[in-house]
Each structure stands twice: as C-alpha cells, then as structure tokens.
C-alpha cells in the first residue's frame, strides 16, 4: 500500500461510512454500523495498522488523514445517535399525549369566611398602627354593657340597642353584649394607660332577621387612652386606618354624633371606595358612613379608676358586615350566615 492508495481508501471509507451512518434507521442499526465503520475490521482501522509499513515520509500525512477519518465517522455516529434519540423521545411523548383542557387534579377548594377576612384586615390595619388585640366575653353583665359605659338605667339610649337576655334563674344582670364596647371597660380596668387596643367580636341585638338586620353581627372597635390625645388624633388615626383598608386615596370626614360612652361624639364617613367619591348608586353623595367614634367620656374613666384630668382617649367602632356588603355588593346580609358554598366560594378570603 502506498501513500496514494491509503489516502484513497480513507477517503472512500469516510464518504461511505458517513453516508451509511446517516442512513441508519434506528439505534440498533446504528450500533451495527458503528462497529462496521469504526471497529477493528473497518477500512480506517486497516489503514491505521498499515501505517508502520509506509515510508517514513508518508506517515505524517496518512496518520493525520486516519485521525481525521476517525473523527468524522465518530462525529457522524454521535450526530445520528442524537437525531435517533430525539425521534424516539418524540414518539414516546406523542404516545403519551393528553388533553390539556381536562380539569386539573386539584386539592379540594376552601377558604376563610369573608367576614373573618375583613375582620383580619381591620385588626391588622390597627396592629400596624401599634394596637394590640383585646377580647371579652359575649355573655356580659349589664354593668359592663351599659352602666359602666354611661348608659343610664331607664334612659332612651338603651332602646337604641335592643337587648337579648339569657334566662338565668336568680340573675337579671346578664345580657348578650350589644356591642364590643364592654371590652373598653374591661381593658381600662385591667391595664394602665397608655392603652391602644383593637377589639373584634360578635355582638347581639334583638333584631328580626331581614335583608339588612341580623340578631348577630360582628364589630371591631378601638380604644386609645394616653396623655394628650385629641379629636385630631382620632381623625388622623381613622384616616390612616381608612387608607390601610380601602386604599391610599381615601379621605374621611367627621361630624357630631351621639353615643353615651363618648363625648364629643362623632360619626365618620369615608369617601366611597366604589366610585371614588364622585357619587354612585350605593353612596349617593360620595360618602359612606362606616364608623361611630368620639373622645372617651370622662364617666368611663371615673368608672375604671383612670384620672380623667391626666388622660384623654378616643374610641371608634365599625360593623364588619356592613363593610362586607358594600365591598361585595351583597344585597342580603343573611347570606353571610347560611353556609351556602356557592356564596362562600364567591366571597371567600384566600387562605
């Protein structure tokens, strides 16, 4: 074998080998071809073995050509193998195809009650302002629910809170609390100022259920007692709260109102969070009444042993159901207490 013959053999082996490898129909065929074109009996291997017998001058050229041929054939095999593997994967994937529009296999749906969710938002808004949660019993005494809160006995103010009474033989001083305000008294009794608490809870009034009334409902109120608190502080606090709950552009307005346990007393409107304050079907004039508030009446301080000359305070309360109805556009308050999953899932908070 001379140089020219060797190079011709290599050239043929490379051309025929690459063509054959490219024609391999599957991976098994490719394995056989790989042995044929790269194995010990392959033409290129034969030339390699003949290298030593070639004249010394020819060896470098032929040796280089051998290596190039090996590389080209190995490259062709690798390329073909990748292609065949991709084909095989595609086939498997095709056989595994599913209808992706079928419903997902999801865990059962669930969620918090809308009133729970809103109560949390309200509580968290005040917590972020530095308030701590305070709670009290639903079954209260007349003292905490009325007298200590400056509702005089036999005064028409009590009629505004039609009361449900438990039937406890030998006791006529128990009520189901008509508001969360008794917790104001309990807190002031048990804690020295400064006091900044937020008080959530269920309350009861003797209302026949209809679209806007229920005998049970949820309130959240706040109480702040400290040195130097004023109506301006109350206004600023409630403004910050309204912005936390309804959005940064919220405005509030306050006007005189009467609750026996505050003086001066105030009603609080927020700019309508549905129309932005322009006036709509829900708000009418751009304002929505959501809070009752005021400066803590000195009688409450006297009833709880806090010096009314040294400390002042403010309190404010709101109804969770009212906010929920406004936010969800729910026409009937009773829906919140029916446990109908079609409704619960619409208005559920996301857990």
């Amino acid at each position: 074998m001379d140089r020219a013959e060797a190079l011709r053999i290599l050239e043929d082996a490379r051309r025929d080998g690459v063509a054959a490898v490219h024609g391999a129909a599957d991976l098994d065929a490719l394995r056989q071809l790989e042995v044929m074109v790269l194995g010990r009996r392959a033409q290129v291997a034969k030339v390699q073995r003949e290298l030593g017998r070639l004249p010394a001058d020819d060896r470098p050229d032929v040796g280089r050509a051998v290596n190039e041929t090996f590389e080209a054939l190995r490259g062709a095999v690798a390329e073909r193998e990748a292609a065949l593997r991709a084909q095989a994967d595609d086939a498997v994937a095709e056989a595994d195809r599913i209808d992706v529009t079928l419903p997902g296999r999801r865990p059962p749906p669930g969620g918090l009650h809308a009133l729970t969710e809103i109560e949390r938002e309200v509580v968290d808004a005040f917590v972020s302002l530095g308030y701590r949660v305070s709670e009290g019993p639903e079954l209260e005494t007349e003292w905490y629910n009325f007298d200590a809160l400056n509702f005089p006995p036999d005064h028409p103010a009590r009629l505004t809170q039609d009361t449900v009474y438990p039937d406890v033989p030998g006791r006529d001083d128990l009520v189901l609390r008509t508001h969360t305000s008794p917790v104001q008294i309990r807190t002031m009794e048990s804690q020295e100022p400064p006091i900044y608490v937020v008080i959530p809870g269920r309350c009861f009034r003797r209302d026949t259920p209809d679209a806007t009334h229920l005998p049970v409902f949820n309130q959240v109120e706040i109480l702040a007692v400290d040195e130097g608190l004023s109506l301006a502080d109350m206004k600023g606090t409630l403004e910050a709260f309204a912005r936390a709950l309804f959005g940064p552009d919220q405005r509030i307005r306050i006007y005189p109102d009467y609750f026996p346990f505050v003086e001066p007393g105030a009603g609080v409107d927020v700019s309508c969070f549905l129309c932005g304050g322009g006036g709509c079907r829900v708000c009418g004039n751009g304002w929505i009444e959501i809070l009752g508030a005021g400066m803590v009446h000195p009688a409450l301080f006297e009833n709880t042993g806090i010096d009314p000359e040294r400390y002042t305070g403010f309190a404010a309360g709101l109804g969770i159901e009212r906010i929920a109805m406004l936010r969800h556009g729910v026409p009937d308050i009773r829906m919140y207490y029916e446990g109908d999953v079609r409704f619960l899932s619409q208005v559920a908070g996301r857990a």
């Binding site: 296999r105 999801r106 059962p108 669930g110 969620g111 918090l112 009650h113 729970t116 917590v127 972020s128 302002l129 530095g130 308030y131 701590r132 019993p137 639903e138 079954l139 036999d154 005064h155 028409p156 505004t160 449900v164 009474y165 438990p166 406890v168 128990l174 189901l176 400064p194 900044y196 269920r202 026949t208 229920l214 005998p215 049970v216 400290d226 004023s230 109506l231 301006a232 502080d233 206004k235 600023g236 606090t237 910050a240 307005r253 006007y255 005189p256 009467y258 026996p260 003086e263 001066p264 007393g265 004039n285 000195p298 002042t312 446990g339 109908d340 999953v341 079609r342 559920a348 857990a351």
Partner: protein
C-alpha cells in the same frame, strides 16, 4: 322627627336647595335620614269654584256639580253634597293623580253623566282621615291655582334622626334654634299672647300632686265654650306633613304646640272629670284604665297616673284615658301642661310596651322653662280655633327649677378638640346656641337653659364648641404610639386554626348563635343549653351549645342545592347553663359528607371517619399539639362503631366521628356524615410555641417492609405505638402502608404492613443491626398482640 320646611321657615330663614340644607344639618350633628315629599302622589289637582249643584238624573245619592277651574267649566259627579255654589273646592281633572289611587284619573260615565274628574275629600288628598264630604277650601284661593302650591303641599319635609340625648330637637322650634346657630341667622320664637277671659281657672278646677318627684310640675288651664270642628286647613296640612293625623281643633292645637315647642299637652273634657279636680298620684297595684287607643291596661305602684277625684283618667306622660277624651260633644276643656320625671315615664312606657309622641319627649326630658308658655300658646290656639274662651290664669303646682351652671376651661377644650380654643371662642360658640355665659378667672361659666337637658358637664359644652367650630376644621394628626402592636397568643393561634382548616380544602361557615330546643339532641360535648329570656322566635329559643347544629343546617342547604360534597368548618362561641354563672367557650367544628370531591378526575369516594380523623391530625399536628390521643366512643350522637373522644393529655378536648345515621336523616343527609368538635382552650394550651430541632442523619436508612397478622379487632394504633417503642432509637420513621383482610389470611385476622426506616445518626447501619431491630419488634408484637410476622 319630621320637620316641614315651610314650618321651619316660620322661625328662621332657610334658603337654597333642601338637599344642601340636609347635608349641612347632618354635618352639624342633626342627622337627616331622608327628605320626604308627602304629597308626591298628588298631581294636577286645581282650585275650583262651584257654580252649580244639582241632582243627578239617574241616581238619588249622587249630584252634578259644575265647577270653574279658571280655564273653563266642567261637569263632575259627586257622591256627597256638602258644597254650595260659590264654595271653593279641590278639583281633580282627568289626568290628575291622587295619593291613594292607582294611575291617572279619566273621564268616566257615571250613570249617564260624563264626569270630568272629581272633587276631593280631605282623606282623598291625604290631609286627614275625614271622608265625610268634599274639602271646602278658604274662599280667597284663586280658581285655577295648583292646589299643592296653594296649600303648601309641595313643601319638602326633612326627616331628622333625633339623637337620644337631644330632647330639644323633638320640636320645630328646637330644630330652628340649631339651624339658626348653624347659619348665624336670627331665630323668631312664637310667643303666646296672654289671654284670659271671664272667670279664673282656679275657681273651676283643683290640682293635687302627691308625688312631686315623679311630677315636678303640673299646670292646668281651662277653656270654655269650645265647639269641636276641623282646625284651620293650614294647621291640618302642617300636622299631616309632620306625620300626625289631624282630628279636631282642640286635639290638633295640643299636637300643634307639642310639635312646635316640644311640650306634650293633653286636653280633657272638663265635664267628664269628677270634681272637677286633677290628682296626680301613683297607681295602686293592678289598677286599670282603658286608654285612648282602646286597650285596657293595668298598672303597678311604680306607675304615675293622672286621676280625677274618683278614678284614673290618664297615664302620666304616656297616653290619655278613653272616657275623658275630647269628643264632638265637648264644650269645656281642661288643658294639661306638665313635666314628669323622665325615668318614670320611660319605665311605664316600657312596661306598657307603648311609645307615644308624649312619652318619647318626656323620657328624654322636656324644657322645664317652657311648661307655662306652651300651655298659654295652646290655650290661645284652642280659643281661637274653636270659638271658646280661655279662663284667666292657671292652676299651677310646682315651679321652674333654677338653671345649673357649668364651667368650661378653654385649654381643656383645646386639648380635647385638637384645635386652639380661647375663652372668647367658647363664649361665642355658646352665644350662637343662645346659652348665656360669663368669663370668670379664665373659665367660661355657662348658664344652661332649660331645653338643653343634655348639657351637664364640661365635656358636653366642649362638644358644643366643637360643633359650632365645625368638626371639618379639626386637623388630622397621628398619635405617637409608644408600643409595638400585635396579636396575643390566643388570637394568633385561632387564626392558625382557621388557616389550617381552610388550607385543608374546607370553607369556613358562620352560623347564628341561637337555635331551637331540639338542637340539644345534636350537640357535641353536650352541656345543658342556655335558654333565652326574650327570644325573637321559637326557633331561636336557646343559645347554641355546640357548633354542629349550625353546620348540619349548612350541610343540608348545600346538599339541597346539589352541592353534595360538603366540607365546612366553623370557629365560634358556644354557651351552657351552668348555674348562676353560665359558661361560654370557643370551639372549632368540622363537618364532612358526600364525596371527597365532586368533579372528575378528583376523588368521588364517600368521605368517612378517616377523612375526619385526617383533618383532625392535620389540624393538631399543624398546631404542634403533642400528646393527643383518641379515647373511647362518646355518647349517642355518634355512630357507636365509628367515633372517639379526643384527648389532649388526659383532658377531654373534643369528639370525633361519623354521626349516628338517624341524625343525618333528621337533616335530610343521606350517607355518612363525619364531624368533629374541639374546645379551643386545650388545643391552644397544648400548641407548641417553638418547634424543636432534631439532628438530621447524613447516613442512608435501611428500609424494611414488615407485615404482621393480628386479630381483626386489635387496634392498629396500639400496634403502631408498641412497634415504635420496641424499635428503639434506630427506628427513624414508620409508615403504615397496607391493611389487608381475607384470603389467604385466617378469618378474624388482618395484616398490617409497615415500612420501617432504620437509621443511626453517626454511621451506616449494617444489615445485622437492622435485622436485630426487626426481630425485637416482632418478638414484642408477638408477646403483646399475638402478632405473627408475615414477611420481612
């Protein structure tokens, strides 16, 4: 309180749209509920003059009227005949609408005569209840004029919500006083002309008050020679607009003055009073009186009555008696103007279940300075409207109390309101409210007029300063809260319970706190239910003793709507009758029924005990509650073979199980109903505050799958517990992966298959070590349960 705008204008000028006024009033502390236009339904009725009255040719009881409405003559058929040619009457032509009638009037053939509309009675115009004849209008009205304009029926009425402390706003003058303070305009208060005819009241009647605490003032005037008739039309319209139906001149005058100045008045027929003399006294126990509304009422010794020499004739401050009321036959009248103790009136009115215009004023407190003026004004009005004569003077028991004074520190006002206030600001604000005030040592001392019963202490006056200043001018500041906010542990853990359950694929429901007596049968952790003394209905007679009844009702509702896969929970308070101090506690409950999920390809398997237990495990493990276990089955609410008590440590914390089939049936639930109810306190008590760390081994575990054949009734939980004990420290993890019963196992046995991960923290375990652990487990289970190792 309904305030007709035209009436209000009599005492202070108001202008501009009524909506703007209402808004200003609300911002000023006079909340306006709504604006009413009482005669909205009245349209197109005109003033007409009667030209002819003649018989209807075809009907005895009808007559033909020719009426001139300014634009022409019209023929109308009328069913009464109280008018004569020349009378001015309301004429409703075709196209007009009337308050009580549907649609528009049309031309109508009435027995052969074409009637072009109708003439109207006071009742048809919704002015009074009088339907006895056509309303005869004042003769000076021009035919053709719109009736609503002519009679001021087009005036708006402001419906004011009167706050419980503001007795003075239950009168038009009181509202005018506030509006004037708000606008700065003048206030014109009506004055009674001093009237006095021949004779003196004190020569005719006597007044004796035996309880001066309950009745600090009683004043009687006498009007003689009245003739009962409708009161002037303008007064009737005002009463109607204010929501009080006009009746007759005497009664209307008392109501008119009450609405005007806020002093309730009562007119007795003088000749029906024995004596005639008034005795104001306490009732004797069980004493009875039939009141104006026709009800016979009985009284206690706490009630104050107005009596004559023989018998009760009125309930003080609440309502008059039936048999001394003014009737068409009345000629002489005794007019009562008095002041009663608010608390006493409140109690009596509450006991009788009767709130009247009088009682709502007396129980808030009427102006002690206005008792006499109101009597004088009403006496003059009665005399003028009825042609009678008011006798001179009054029989007057009691006196006008001296005014209290209240001092205000302006710096205190600044501190509370958050705006700078100087003494002159205080005086100015009080001046606007017509409250006299002087300055002493830097303090402003106010002399509280009688009508402001609500102003008792400094802070009350500071509110007045704030109101007049305007709350809108108060700035917004944020106090420097010197503490970090936060939730307490109980609150935080209660949140966690809700999050765990909703995250486990359940919706949170809320139920009423009330329920029927029958709920006791379906209560978990049952305790005696607490009865409600004044329930709204029979269905709400008890406070809930358990959360399950509410959840069962919710489940029924959902299944009724074909939402058959029910997964609900509730967190709430339940109550128990436990002697003199009834108890309340918070609980959490879960209910599951129907398929685990509703839609393919999800799980349509029926939810059962193990689903409930799974959620319980998820909850308690999620809370980090250690040392809980299941105990023996609870009472009869539950399926006896599929229920257990839940113990935390040794404390009974809850009940878990499938409900007894009869209970599901009672709530229309078919199939298994699984539930649990837990007391929150022990769960929160046992919840782990901080999770602990146990070192993680870097060495691989050896896995051994072992199955034990045991008696079918041997509890798997006990087998597992024993297995864990026997496994010792090298047993890293145990999973029960199969429970098998039947061929080829002997009857009455079952196989429990566990996957065991064995691992040491410091080395790779050898097979010999692992086999030794499995051997000691097998020996222990053999010894305790007779368990046979099946494979391993």
């Amino acid at each position: 309180m309904r305030v007709p705008l035209s009436w209000l204008r009599e005492y202070t000028p108001v202008s501009g749209p009524v909506e703007d006024l209402a808004e200003r009033m609300t911002m000023h502390g006079l909340p306006v509920d709504r604006i009413i236009r009482p005669w909205e339904g009245l349209m197109g009725v005109r003033v007409g003059r009667v030209l002819e009255v003649s018989d209807h040719p075809g009907a005895d009881r009808l007559c033909r009227i020719v009426v001139d409405d300014g634009g022409g003559q019209h023929e109308v058929v009328v069913g009464v005949r109280n008018m004569a040619p020349g009378d001015v009457v309301p004429y409703a032509p075709p196209g007009a609408t009337l308050p009580g009638f549907e649609g528009k009037l049309e031309r109508r053939d009435i027995r052969g005569v074409l009637s072009e509309g109708m003439l109207c009675s006071p009742k048809e115009l919704a002015i009074s209840g009088d339907h006895g004849g056509i309303l005869i209008l004042p003769g000076d009205l021009d035919p053709g004029a719109d009736l609503k304009e002519a009679l001021e029926l087009d005036q708006a009425v402001i419906d004011l919500e009167v706050l419980a402390n503001r007795a003075d706003l239950l009168s038009i003058v009181g509202v005018a006083r506030e509006v004037a303070a708000m606008t700065g305009d003048e206030l014109r208060v009506p004055r009674a002309e001093a009237t006095g005819g021949p004779g003196r009241a004190e020569d005719v009647v006597t007044v004796e008050v035996t309880d001066r605490e309950k009745c600090p003032r009683y004043l009687a005037r006498v009007i003689r020679g009245v003739s009962i008739a409708p009161s002037p039309l303008g007064a009737q319209v005002r009463l109607a607009a204010a929501g009080i139906r006009p009746r007759s001149n005497v009664v209307d005058a008392t109501n008119y003055v009450m609405l005007e100045v806020g002093q309730p008045l009562h007119a007795f027929d003088l000749h029906l009073l024995a004596g005639p003399g008034i005795v104001v006294r306490r009732a004797s126990e069980g004493e009875r009186l039939t009141t104006l509304d026709g009800a016979e009422r009985s009284f206690t010794e706490d009630d104050l009555l107005i009596a004559d020499r023989d018998r009760p004739v009125a309930v003080a401050g609440v309502i008059g008696g039936a048999d001394t009321e003014v009737t068409g036959a009345t000629s002489d009248v005794l007019l009562e103007s008095a002041r009663f103790q608010p608390v006493s009136v409140f109690r009596t009115s509450r006991r009788l279940g009767l709130r009247t215009d009088a009682s709502t004023r007396f129980d808030r407190g009427v102006d002690p300075e206005g008792v006499e003026a109101a009597a004088d004004r009403a006496a003059a009005m009665i005399a003028a409207w009825s042609g009678g004569t008011a006798l001179e003077g009054a029989v007057d028991v009691g006196e006008v109390p001296t005014r209290r004074t209240v001092a205000v520190r302006s710096d205190r006002a600044s501190a509370l309101l958050g705006v700078p206030v100087v003494p002159s600001d205080v005086r100015q604000a009080l001046g606007r409210l017509l409250i006299p005030a002087t300055e002493e040592d830097g303090r402003v001392v106010a002399e509280i007029p009688g009508h402001r019963v609500d102003l008792e202490r400094e802070v009350d006056l500071i509110e007045e300063v704030g109101r007049i200043t305007g709350y809108g001018r108060i700035p917004s500041t944020l106090p420097g809260v010197r503490q970090a906010g936060g939730l307490d542990r109980f609150h935080r853990l209660r949140r966690q319970i809700r999050d765990l359950l909703s995250g486990a694929g359940m919706y949170e429901a809320l139920s009423y706190s009330f329920g029927p007596a029958g709920d006791a049968e379906v209560s978990a952790l049952a305790r005696p239910p607490l009865r409600i003394a004044n329930p709204i209905s029979e269905e709400d007679g008890f406070l809930r003793a358990s959360l399950l009844p509410g959840l069962l009702r919710a489940a029924r509702r959902n299944v009724g709507h074909r939402r058959t896969s029910v997964r609900l929970f509730e967190v709430g308070t339940v109550f128990a009758a436990t002697g003199a101090r009834p108890d309340e506690e918070e609980r959490v409950a879960v209910i599951l029924t129907g398929p685990a999920a509703e839609q393919w390809p999800a799980d349509r398997r029926e939810q059962d005990f193990l689903d409930g237990k799974g959620i319980l495990e998820h909850l308690l493990d999620g809370m980090g509650v250690a040392g809980w276990s299941l105990g023996g089955p609870p009472h009869g609410l539950w399926h006896p073979g599929r229920s257990a008590t839940v113990l935390i440590g040794t404390e009974l914390a809850g009940e878990l199980g499938e409900l007894h089939p009869r209970i599901g049936g009672a709530f229309d639930l078919v199939g298994r109903v699984t539930a649990f109810e837990l007391r929150l306190a022990p769960v929160v008590e046992a919840a782990l505050a901080e999770p602990g760390y146990r070192e993680l081994s870097r060495f691989p575990p050896l896995r051994r799958d072992v199955a034990f054949v045991v008696g079918a009734r041997v509890p798997a939980g006990e087998v597992r517990t024993t297995l864990e004990q026997a496994g010792g420290p090298l047993l890293d993890r145990v999973v029960l992966f199969d429970v098998f019963e039947g061929d080829p196992l002997p009857a009455g046995t079952r196989s429990l298959a566990f996957a065991l991960d064995l691992r040491a923290p410091d080395r790779t375990l050898t097979d010999e070590e692992a086999d030794a652990v499995v051997r000691s487990i097998a020996e222990r289970l053999q010894a305790e349960f007779g368990a046979r190792l099946r494979s391993g």
